[in-house]
Amino acid sequence: MNARYGMVIDLDRCTGCGACMMACAAENNVPPIPQATPRTGLTPMLVRTVSNGMEGSARREVFIPITCMHCERETPCVSVCPQQAVEVDKATGIVMQMPQRCLGCRYCMTACPYHARYFNWWDPAWPAGMEKSLNPGVAVRMRGVVEKCNMCHARLHSAKAKAAAAGKREIDPADYVPACVEACPTAAIRFGNFADPDDPVSREAHSPDAFRFLTRLGTEPKLYYKSKEAWVRALAESKSANAEVQHG
């Protein structure tokens, strides 16, 4: 049976520590780019800080980890790519990016409403000695191509290889966990198969506190967020459509 991998991120648990960002970078060989600005860096997982706009004791803040939402319907980045470098893997529901085929036109980046795609503005480079820590299972991307979260696809390959070696057709769910999920110290990020109704993460996605961003675009993102705070849940839709949000 085809899987539909997705995540539920409990924003009430997120402390904004950035461990998910670090784990993502280490797992996926994301180079450190000292000359990058916040808008030119490579951050397939990015923790953003949002406040309710109030001051003093009324002020509240939330940390929102933003990564590719792996949209299921009308996936904005897939239809626009001129050379099929982006596709939705029907077996997993993961939106895959093929940097080897990417032209670097960045049309997919303009199409993504979540700003979850990143361009390699510089040549990848690591400080002397640090290249020894590179993950051999993940190819380094060259300058001039787009990249994004692929739900640690190398880990999925490893899990599949392990299952095949054991003569199994299906992977053990415990063998495939993305790096950000594994690294989160508060277990705020949970990963599961939404095609399995008994998967606890799948059930969590349907809890009353769960929401997704910009659902009215009709792209059916597979990243859910959770919060008991009404003002946080109100961030789900656009600022303009929810005049009462005002971050507070």
């Binding site: 949002v50 032209l103 670097g104 036109c105 960045r106 361009f119 656009s238 303009s240």
Partner: protein
């Protein structure tokens, strides 16, 4: 007069008067500098990468895409004039045809050159032909622009072969004659290709579901911007041809085409502009009332971000739309050359503004509730690279004007052509 050892008169058409070669070179010199700086800037971008620009992950398209879309629209005069002359048999537009081809060739070749710098991996450009995604508007753009540039080259060659020295070679003469017979076919092919790539450039943003400011419903697979771009391109193309011709007349001090032809071009431009503005107004109303609210965005909020306020929408529809459409079509204003050219300039400015709004404003606006409104200023490399295209255009046009019959009259026309 230039000395006999430093002259190019034997390359200039018999009977044509042109400035001396040193003076001509002096005219070219600053443009050559602009071109050289552009080449250097583009070289930096190719060698060091697009970190030389001020684009970023949020502003992934910038000045280059805006100007590419702009000059491709303005260059539409090439295919549209060919269509009018060869397909609709409007022979009175013949005198402007050669210059339209050269302007179109410059616009398209310049745009393609900049696109090659704008992509992160230019050596992979052929991937689009090898692994085409038929659902992508950019695939359609790539195919049609590449093919149309080839058509423009084929249309430019016969003009090139009419050079005084090249005509002396019998094989060139035969080749030119054979190519000339192909012109109606090329005009038809060019029209078809241009129809699709002008439209696809509009569709490029119109299909972006994730950018509700640009997203439009449409007809079958094409968003409304597909049709609006075609209309606006064929409306502005003739106006741009008028402006180029008027500029050449001013610089050379010669009258190159008749006032009647200018008025004819102006009328075509004005009528099409009026149709475009009517269609755009309807489209805007549909977007304001249905399309944008249906995807969760209150459209008027977009105009709260300064400087992208409502005056831009007003300028696009009234100042750069209805006003020039009226001035170009109203007989009394069209008879006054200054007014006619001002109206043509307004029409072209309006189309550029439209491309700016669709490309730059779309990316500046937030989508997520916690996004900020973005600012972007192009780097000097971006500006200089496009300056290079301008320099290239002036050089190619100047050479073409000097050595080729750009403003030839059709047989039987008695319109005075100065300098010949």
């Amino acid at each position: 007069m230039a000395s006999s050892t430093f002259t190019d008169t034997r390359w200039i058409a018999r009977g044509e008067e042109r400035t001396s070669l040193p003076q001509f070179l002096l005219w070219l010199a600053p443009w050559a500098v602009v071109f050289a700086v552009g080449i250097y800037a583009a070289g930096l971008c190719l060698y060091y990468g697009l970190n030389q620009t001020n684009m970023d992950n949020r502003f992934a398209f910038g000045l280059w895409i805006f100007l590419d879309l702009g000059i491709i629209a303005l260059g539409a005069g090439a295919f549209f004039t060919g269509f009018l002359v060869y397909i609709l048999k409007r022979a009175k537009l013949q005198p402007i045809l050669n210059t339209a081809v050269v302007v179109g060739f410059i616009c398209y070749s310049g745009a393609v050159a900049i696109l090659m710098v704008d992509v992160g991996q230019p050596l992979r450009a052929w991937f689009t032909f090898w692994h085409p995604n038929t659902h992508s508007m950019l695939t359609e753009v790539t195919f049609c622009i590449s093919c149309y540039l080839l058509v423009l080259c084929l249309e430019y060659v016969p003009i090139l072969l009419r050079n005084r020295q090249l005509r002396k070679l019998p094989s060139f003469l035969v080749f030119e004659h054979q190519l000339h017979k192909l012109m109606p076919v090329l005009a038809g092919v060019g029209t078809l290709l241009s129809f699709f790539h002008q439209g696809s450039l509009g569709g490029l943003y119109g299909v972006l579901r994730g950018r509700p400011f640009a997203f439009r419903e449409g007809f079958l697979i094409w968003p409304s911007t597909f049709f609006l771009f075609i209309l606006s391109a064929i409306a502005s193309g003739p106006s741009f041809l008028m402006l180029v011709t008027a500029a050449v007349e001013k610089i050379t001090g010669r009258r190159l085409v008749s006032q009647e032809l200018f008025q004819r071009l102006g009328f075509i431009s004005g009528v099409l502009l009026a149709i475009y503005i009517a269609a755009k107004s309807i489209d805007t109303l549909i977007w304001l009332n249905f399309t944008s609210p249906s995807v969760g965005f209150a459209p008027w909020q977009y105009y709260n971000y300064k400087p992208f306020g409502l005056p831009i929408l007003f300028a696009e529809i009234v100042l750069f739309g209805l006003l020039p459409a009226f001035l170009l079509t109203y007989r009394r204003s069209a008879k006054r050359r200054g007014l006619l050219l001002s109206a043509a300039a307004l029409a072209c400015a309006g189309i550029l503004l439209n491309r700016f709004v669709l490309t730059v404003q779309t990316l500046a606006l937030p989508t997520l509730a916690f996004d900020e409104f973005l600012h972007y200023t192009p780097s000097w490399q971006e500006v200089a690279s496009f300056g290079g295209v301008l320099g290239y255009g002036v050089i190619v046009y100047s050479l073409s004007y000097r050595y080729l019959p750009l403003f030839a009259q059709p047989k039987g026309e008695n319109t005075h052509v100065s300098g010949s």
